[in-house]
């Protein structure tokens, strides 16, 4: 009986829903991925048509994800079960589940195959092998690490320690915390500029953005946002910072040089994750309460489309097509 139950669990776990087909893309084409926690689905949006062209089923309730451009895989944290689910973006299939334990939340992947995974309740970041799930190292950080971001060369990780009101700066070669930078209250999401000179940190409770100079590791500026900033992105030309204001149901566009607000765009209810296309033409916002994705025109600073998606969208990433 145990075997049978196990088999059923396995079948349920590996069930993959695939809706529609993916149009052939050139290798430079970008794709938008939106992760819905409640329904456990990664939606694939083609920015040429702004429609969902595929839905990849994850087990459980995935909270956050990252994409490896080296392997074309997406890694999603499952805080309930202490696992990381890995899907192949080309075949849109679940390929493996890594058991890491604890409550994994924020995640980033390095080109050498190592995952940096925050543990929300154990207050640490684990370095995990992306294939075997083996843990190489555990680094203690401040309370309740939320999202984390890795530099392009993989030398440094920044972690938003939500309950510690600080950002941990980790030397990703030595696996050591270089500094805990005090920021606003309840930092949750963060984003690096393309030149990696600035780190923008969204502070949920204080309704501010902490802009960190990544060479001095000092705060450059703390512009006000609207209520409960939950997501942040920087345009690829480093001109603008986009912040999703969860309680205000809007996106603030902040000038990345002067750190003053340029515009506010109304979106769906309780927006969270936000991502910008490389050419800067459009942004995509996960509206958690509305179960939709807002498409923003960043020239006109208006919402041009709202796409219905599976329940609980919280995180959006833009990635070039899998190799």
């Amino acid at each position: 009986m145990k075997a049978l139950a196990g088999l059923i669990t396995l079948v349920a776990l590996y069930a993959v829903v695939s809706v529609g087909t993916i149009a052939a893309r050139d290798s430079t084409a970008e794709t938008i991925y939106v992760l819905s926690q409640d329904d456990g689905i990664l939606s694939v949006i083609d920015p040429k048509v702004d429609e969902i062209t595929g839905k990849i089923k994850f087990p459980g309730k995935p909270a956050a994800f990252t994409i490896s451009s080296a392997t074309g895989e997406a890694f999603a944290t499952l805080p309930d079960s202490g696992e990381i689910a890995v899907v192949d973006l080309q075949s849109q299939k679940l390929v493996r589940v890594l058991k890491v334990g604890g409550q994994p939340f924020g995640i980033a992947v390095r080109a050498d195959g190592r995952l940096f995974v925050g543990d929300w309740s154990a207050n640490r970041v684990s370095i995990v092998d992306q294939t075997s799930g083996d843990i190489f190292a555990k680094i203690a950080v401040g309370r309740s690490p939320a999202h984390l971001v890795l530099t392009r060369d993989g030398s440094r990780v920044y972690v938003a320690d939500r309950e510690a009101n600080s950002v941990a700066v980790i030397d990703a070669q030595r696996f050591e915390v270089m500094k805990e930078i005090p920021v606003g209250r309840a930092p949750f999401a963060l984003a690096l500029s393309s030149d990696e000179a600035q780190l923008a940190v969204a502070n949920v409770q204080s309704a501010t953005l902490s802009v960190v100079d990544t060479s001095s590791l000092e705060i450059l500026s703390s512009p006000a946002t609207r209520a409960m900033p939950y997501g942040v992105a920087v345009t690829h030309d480093d001109a603008e910072i986009l912040v999703s204001n969860q309680q205000s149901g809007s996106i603030s566009i902040i000038d990345a040089k002067t750190h003053t607000p340029r515009a506010e765009i109304k979106v769906g209810r309780y927006p969270e994750g936000v991502a910008v296309l490389k050419n800067g033409s459009k942004a995509y916002v996960a509206n958690w309460f509305s179960a939709s994705v807002s498409v923003l025109d960043l020239k006109a600073n208006t919402e041009i489309k709202r796409i219905s998606c599976p329940e609980g969208p919280r995180m959006v990433l833009s990635a070039s097509a899998a190799p």
Binding site: A5, Q103, A227, S248
Partner: protein, 180 residues
């Protein structure tokens, strides 16, 4: 054999369901309730527009005080008739022209209310025959670890939130329709 197999299958599926319910993790939950009211939107808004007024229209509230009016950062502190001490909420987003405001739990107190870090939005919307009040909440269960006790799990948080919002909406309706 087919019968036995079927019952085994049923048992396995049931076990999985129970497991899934128990192992629910720190996923934000949402509740949204609406109520139709036979009164003009301006009348309904007048009743609830002051963030600190909750004690005058919510039947589950025992006592309430407030500070800061309707400015961002204003707080209201109230106790429930069910006890458990004070709840402190702070105002985030006030939209007079949309007849709407958003607020959040400022100080956790799961003895009074079994949800943590909730943020709510309440809005009066014009509707045929009068108004509609829409009240939504995003929240986490009181115990966000992977093994919450029954009184602090997702189900407890959802039930408490639904009950509180429904009672509040019924209170607004009764007052606005002159029956409160």
């Amino acid at each position: 054999m087919p019968i036995k197999f079927r019952s085994l299958l049923a048992f396995a599926i049931l076990s999985m369901g129970a497991h899934a319910a128990l192992a629910h993790g720190p996923t934000p939950q949402k509740v949204e309730e609406k109520i139709a009211i036979s009164a003009p939107p301006a009348t309904v808004w007048q009743l609830i527009k002051d963030f600190g007024s909750i004690g005058t229209w919510h039947p589950s509230v025992a006592s309430a005080k407030s500070e800061g009016g309707n400015a961002s950062g204003a707080t209201r502190t109230f106790t429930l008739k069910s006890g458990g001490g004070e709840l402190v909420e702070s105002l985030d987003d006030y939209q007079e022209k949309d007849m709407s405001y958003g607020y959040r739990l400022a100080t956790e107190n799961d003895e009074a209310f079994p949800a943590s870090f909730y943020s709510d939005t309440i809005q009066v919307v014009p509707a045929s025959g009068g108004s509609e009040v829409v009240w939504g909440s995003r929240f986490y269960r009181a115990d966000t670890t992977n093994e919450p006790p029954e009184n602090k799990n997702d189900a407890a948080a959802i039930k408490a939130t639904e009950d509180f919002i429904k009672a509040g909406l019924a209170g607004i309706k009764a007052k606005a329709e002159g029956k409160g």
